[in-house]
Symmetry: C2
Subunit: 271 residues, 2 copies
DNA sequence: CGCAGATTTGAATGCAATCAACACTGGTGG
DNA sequence: CCACCAGTGTTGATTGCATTCAAATCTGCG
């Protein structure tokens, strides 16, 4: 149940994601599984949607990595969130038609487009899914708040450590991180635009963090070498992700939650 | 219609706010006007709700000023948003039970508590209000994104100019700013915690902005002396507030001309 | 008046940006 | 097959915006 490797279907990705933050009934899962999807492959560094548009579909990320960003007056870029498979980063267009930011593929992506009409039907016929989708946009906002605190009040080392904790936990919650390993295909320039730091400084701080033995990187994959120290370094407390206990309980270090049975065993070969 | 002075009732405040971002039918206004409210006065510097709680009511701000904040590990505070009369800053507790941040009164407030049960009834019987409330939380998130860009990529002068533009437009949209005057009862220390800057630096930058003739302050009220130059100084474009045209159309000056058609991506080095 | 909170000013320090090269990688085309 | 190129990562030197520390007003208020 915990491992849902790259073979998952598009609908499974979405269901898995929503199940990580809300309780879904069997009927609701079925309804989600019946959503009409239009699949597309998106090359790296191209926009899924951009600022000013009024899309009539939402993008479900099936594979890859997406960044939400704004371009500011002086040509600077601020990346405001990272999005992973299972996310619908423009779900808000159901209620706010015009995009006030852009969504770009940070890595080659497979995206499933869902017509707005299908989603509005869904929430009308399934109030529980209305709740779940609303909740999804609220978790998105909660993550945004944590990023704001991160950028506003933490130094570069803390920011990066915190970001790696978050990305790991989110990937883990949808079955995309096994054994504290995961792929995080984001360049240092993009990390800088996400953290409000320069590329050069990202590079130096990342070296520090690697040298301290908190994370390591073997080519395409990132490994968290010392989860507890990384959490401490990033002042990271995962409550803001609002994950359901069975998706994240093992990480709630502060609030004492009973140990859970680990289903997915440590597989020597990953992915 | 545009002026709704301090005499407005609690329900009118809420209706006025929602009408500034969504279309409300007569029936929906009536339903809102029938909401049960429990009124309370909150002294300055006390919390309405705080992190970790699971409230069973939402707070409608009727009068005063509220800040949403988190306390970080090293005793620092990050204020993540300001809230004004008409706002329901903890509306998200309808869907996410546990607060991941606190709400504090930055000025003496009058607050109307609305039971969750009344709100869930409301959205069940009035789908249009479900849409409006969902949309309200999404506008909240859009403002958060702009704050993130503000703190991440703008310098202190731009940040403060931008903030003053936003506060003015939001107050104006609910009838609380006449003639570019408004009360903004926030200390420089609080501004610093909101902008990720030190109190001392806020003080110096505010002096600059006043000296440049962008804003002025006569005791309790703030006046925007030069709206166009303040907008320019803050790189401010109001689309992200998602105000309905009759609430904010007069301000869409710059962006109406320079349509934001951004093709391609920001190259981090475009010298 | 006396006090606490808020604002203001000065001086020294520091974190991160900027500027400028250089190394490394994978992909492209001659 | 190799030269070339663009994107990415790395390093050094310098600059600057903002912080920190400290203390002096200013303000409202009991």
């Amino acid at each position: 149940m915990n491992s849902l490797p790259a073979t998952a279907t598009e609908h499974e990705r979405l269901i898995r994601k929503l199940a990580s933050i809300a309780v879904l009934t069997a009927a609701e899962r079925d309804a989600l599984a019946g959503l009409p999807l239009r699949l597309r492959s998106i090359p790296e560094n191209t926009d899924l949607v951009h600022e000013g548009e009024t899309p009539s579909e939402c993008c479900l990320i099936v594979e890859g990595f997406v960044g939400r960003y704004k371009l500011l007056g002086q040509g600077q870029r601020q990346i405001m969130s990272f999005h992973i498979p299972g996310d619908i980063p423009d779900l808000h267009t159901l209620q706010i038609r015009v995009m006030d930011h852009s969504l770009g593929a940070l890595a080659p992506c497979r995206v499933a487009y869902i017509p707005h009409a299908a989603l509005t039907d869904l929430v009308r016929t399934h109030p529980g899914l209305c709740t779940a989708l609303w909740r999804d946009t609220l978790v998105d906002a909660a993550i945004l708040r944590e990023w704001l605190a991160n950028i506003g009040r933490r130094n570069a080392h803390q920011r990066l450590a915190h970001l790696y904790c978050e990305i790991y936990m989110r990937l883990h919650a949808v079955g995309l991180a096994e054994g504290r390993r995961f792929v995080f295909p984001v360049t240092q320039a993009e990390l800088g635009d996400a953290q409000g730091l320069s590329t050069v400084h990202i590079n130096r701080v990342l070296q520090d963090i690697r040298r301290d033995g908190l994370i390591a990187s073997d080519g395409t994959e990132t490994v968290i070498s010392d989860w507890l120290r990384l959490q401490a370094a990033g002042d990271f407390e995962p409550e803001y992700l609002h994950l359901r206990p069975d998706a994240g309980a093992e990480f709630h270090t502060r609030s004492a939650i009973s140990a859970r049975v680990v289903v997915g065993r440590a597989s020597p070969t990953l992915t």
